[in-house]
């Protein structure tokens, strides 16, 4: 057997009292796609940072192509031929795509623009080279990151949760890209918690739990249940089947809504029709950047449009002109896509973050904050929604993504809304937490709440929604009954193949 491309021996990294990685051994073979599987907080990201030189290990050694190396910085790692696509993108928002790429790839702008277009076509990573990154969707930004990495000709490419923002067709295309890269001799470290994906593409999988390796297997020889057990240490929780019930009164109605955003790079919306009744879950599917952001701001009230007052109705009232607070007064609750900075204030404690939306739950009297009630409310949210944190006084920014999401979803559900809108409910959340969040949403529906979900994960929408509408280029398809629709049908709407048939 040839020497592995990369070997780790006894890699250990400790942050304060948290032992993020404990004695990790890993061998990545030449020309293989190797999965790192684990829940959020299992130590996957730390391990990748050690390999990419962002952090240095406390103990252990790294052997790269047969030589001991100290990967002291990302620049050093890149020089050795290691590239990485981060989950939280490291792009510069005020620069254009080509400018971002020219920061690490030599060449004139014209050359780079041409190469970006070629790579984009070759690998299905189309993106406009001259666009500013701040105007790109999450999915498009990821494409830029991948292109940027590919342009440095890496020997080892690390991808952190690469498929979480892609539609199924693009996932297939990405997998073709990865297979092609592997066949050209590039090894790939593929971090994921999506078991089926790993089974379909990876040659090898290393499973992490609590910072330690708990398995090193060929994923094609195990089924998803085995993998899940190794990953979370117990059997997968089941989703409760939704109870069939008659939809109730109309809670949210968008009727022929048009919107032209201020930002000229943003997607404009036209002729949006949507009806959501009490006791049902409506999902909005679509590739990111097709108007989801604009739509969610219009529904949440972050963007108000007095001219479209009547086109947006909540609980039967026109609300287009009302701001977010006024809409919440009607019984509307909202979990935005960005947890930090929009769903929660990172520098504030969980207790104070509770206050931001739950102040009407008796936490404030005569303008004074009732700290006892605030703490009690927060403690209840932490306990009920299994938020792993030292307590209500912990800073929101210190929580892991999954835990913070559980907290924010919990906080909004505890407001006892009549209409709940959740954007990307489980993005970057580990399996255990994600299925807990989905169960809560189904429970809510069964209790007669109207639930609206925007998600890029089709499987998730199929699991919990009653009906799905697909957004593409600022237009919303007609509603599709989940029970009579296949995943592939939704996929075709997402890429526009059903444009005419659906309307």
């Amino acid at each position: 057997m040839p020497a592995p491309l990369l070997s780790l021996r006894g890699l250990t990294k400790t942050y304060g009292t948290v032992r993020a990685n404990r004695g990790i051994d890993l061998d990545v073979a030449e020309g293989s796609i190797h999965a790192i599987l684990g829940e959020n907080g299992a130590g996957k990201s730390t391990l990748m940072k050690l390999i990419y030189g962002v952090e240095t290990p406390d103990a252990g050694e790294v052997i790269w192509r047969g030589h001991h190396v100290a990967l002291s910085s990302p620049a050093e790692a890149r020089r050795q031929g290691i590239g990485m696509v981060f989950q939280h993108f490291s792009l510069f928002e005020t620069l254009t795509v080509v400018e971002n790429i020219s920061l690490i790839v030599p060449g004139s702008k014209a050359e780079l623009t041409a190469r970006i277009r070629t790579l984009g076509q070759e690998y299905g990573l189309e993106v406009e080279p001259r666009a500013h990154v701040h105007a790109l969707s999450v999915g498009e930004r990821q494409r830029v990151e991948i292109i940027r990495c590919l342009m440095t000709d890496p020997k080892l490419l690390i991808l952190d949760e690469p498929t979480s923002v892609l539609p199924p067709q693009s996932v297939q295309r990405l997998f073709q890209t990865l297979t092609r890269l592997r066949d050209r001799g590039v090894s790939i470290l593929f971090i994921s918690h999506k078991l089926e994906e790993i089974r379909s593409i990876c040659d090898r999988a290393t499973i992490l739990r609590d910072g330690q390796v708990t398995g090193n297997i060929d994923p094609r020889e195990h089924d998803a249940h085995d993998l899940a057990r190794m990953m979370i240490g117990r059997d997968m929780p089941e989703t409760r089947p939704a109870v069939a019930r008659e939809p109730g009164e109309l809670r949210l109605e968008l009727a022929g809504l048009d919107h032209q955003p201020d930002d000229p790079f943003a997607q404009s919306l036209s002729g949006i029709n949507l009806q959501l009744r009490a006791g049902e879950i409506l999902g909005i599917a679509g590739v990111s950047g097709n108007g989801q952001g604009e739509l969610s701001r219009l529904i949440s009230g972050e963007t108000t449009d007095p001219a479209a007052s009547d086109q947006i109705r909540m609980m039967g009232q026109p609300v287009g002109h009302l701001n977010a607070a006024a809409r919440r007064k009607l019984g509307f609750a909202f979990v935005p896509e960005e947890r930090l900075g929009r769903g929660a204030v990172p520098e504030m404690s969980l207790a104070d973050n509770t206050l931001l939306t739950a102040h009407r739950q008796g936490l404030v009297r005569r303008g004074m904050i009732n700290r006892l009630r605030e703490a009690a409310f927060t403690a209840r949210c932490i306990a009920d929604y299994d938020v792993r944190t030292p307590g209500p006084q912990a800073e929101a920014g210190a929580l892991s993504g999954g835990n913070l999401q559980k907290f924010i979803v919990g906080r909004e559900i505890m407001l006892a809304p009549r209409l709940l809108f959740v954007s990307q409910p489980t993005w970057g959340v580990d399996i255990g937490a994600a299925s807990a969040i989905r169960r809560r949403l189904v429970d809510l529906r069964n209790d007669g709440v109207a639930v609206l979900i925007i998600s890029e994960e089709i499987e998730e929408l199929f699991e919990i929604c009653d009906r799905i509408q697909v957004i593409r280029e600022g237009r919303l398809s007609a509603a599709l009954q989940v029970s009579q629709t296949r995943v592939e049908d939704i996929g075709r709407y997402m890429i526009g193949a059903e444009e005419r048939a659906g309307v």
């Binding site: 990302p74 510069f92 928002e93 005020t94 620069l95 920061l103 690490i104 201020d262 000229p264």
Partner: protein, 303 residues
Amino acid sequence: MNALTFVLAGMLAAAMPFLLAALGELLAERSGVMNLGIEGMMAVGAVIAFLSVHHFGTHTLGFLLAGLAGAALSLVFAWLALTLRANQVAAGLAIGILGQGLSALFGKSYESRTVAGLPKLSIPSLSEIPVVGGLFSQDAVVWLGLLATLTIWAALRFTKLGLVIRAVGENPSAARSLGYPVIAIRYSCVMFGGLMAGFAGAYAATVYTPLWADGMIAGRGWIALALVVFATWMTGRVFFGAVLFGAVSLAQLAAQAGGVNLNSQLLASLPYIVTILVLGVISSNRRLLKVNGVASLGKTYIP
């Protein structure tokens, strides 16, 4: 000589102290560092230049030493703000006050003395056109200042160096992860800012008003700072703002001399009001702010 001729001929020279200081600050802020000590660095540059010109009689040496003095003071600021990670606002204010104190100290025995200014270099034939001809007859520093504006504009827009500076200013962590030496780049930009502030002070004290008076910078450093912000960190707008300010200053002087029947305090405040209004209106475009704003400005970066 009518008022328009007067304004056109003099506005570039009047703009120069603001323009030079603002261009330097523009670069420092683009890299993410807010240097509020510009006023003090101009003051130090002014006194060093005045002393040099007074004793050695050469403007070249005067500007050189003034630039070095400004850069040296900004090095102290950079050390506080970047190496010791002090709050940038507090460190900048402290260094600014230090600079003004040093300036008063060195210049004490030179109060009210004068030096010779700089001769005008004219572009033949263009400078003989009626009314606008004055525009083409300027001293050497003005010509160099125009060249500097163009160079900085082009550097920020077209060069790799400019791209790196913008990247460092927007997201220092990401820039570091790409292997760029964030702190070193910020040091360089801050010191360039100090150098330009030194030149700006030198111009004010030895060319524009070649006469020493304590406190002669008189808030021009603060206006330069405001220009950078109002210009939404765009080189062209910094230039436009500085020239507008110079032009309106001269216009109100001409108006006063011409006996316009308006309160002189009101006239004297015109340059400020007009500049704020004009730049305020053009900087109200949210998209431009998004594209040109410096995301990490003023924030302490810990690698």
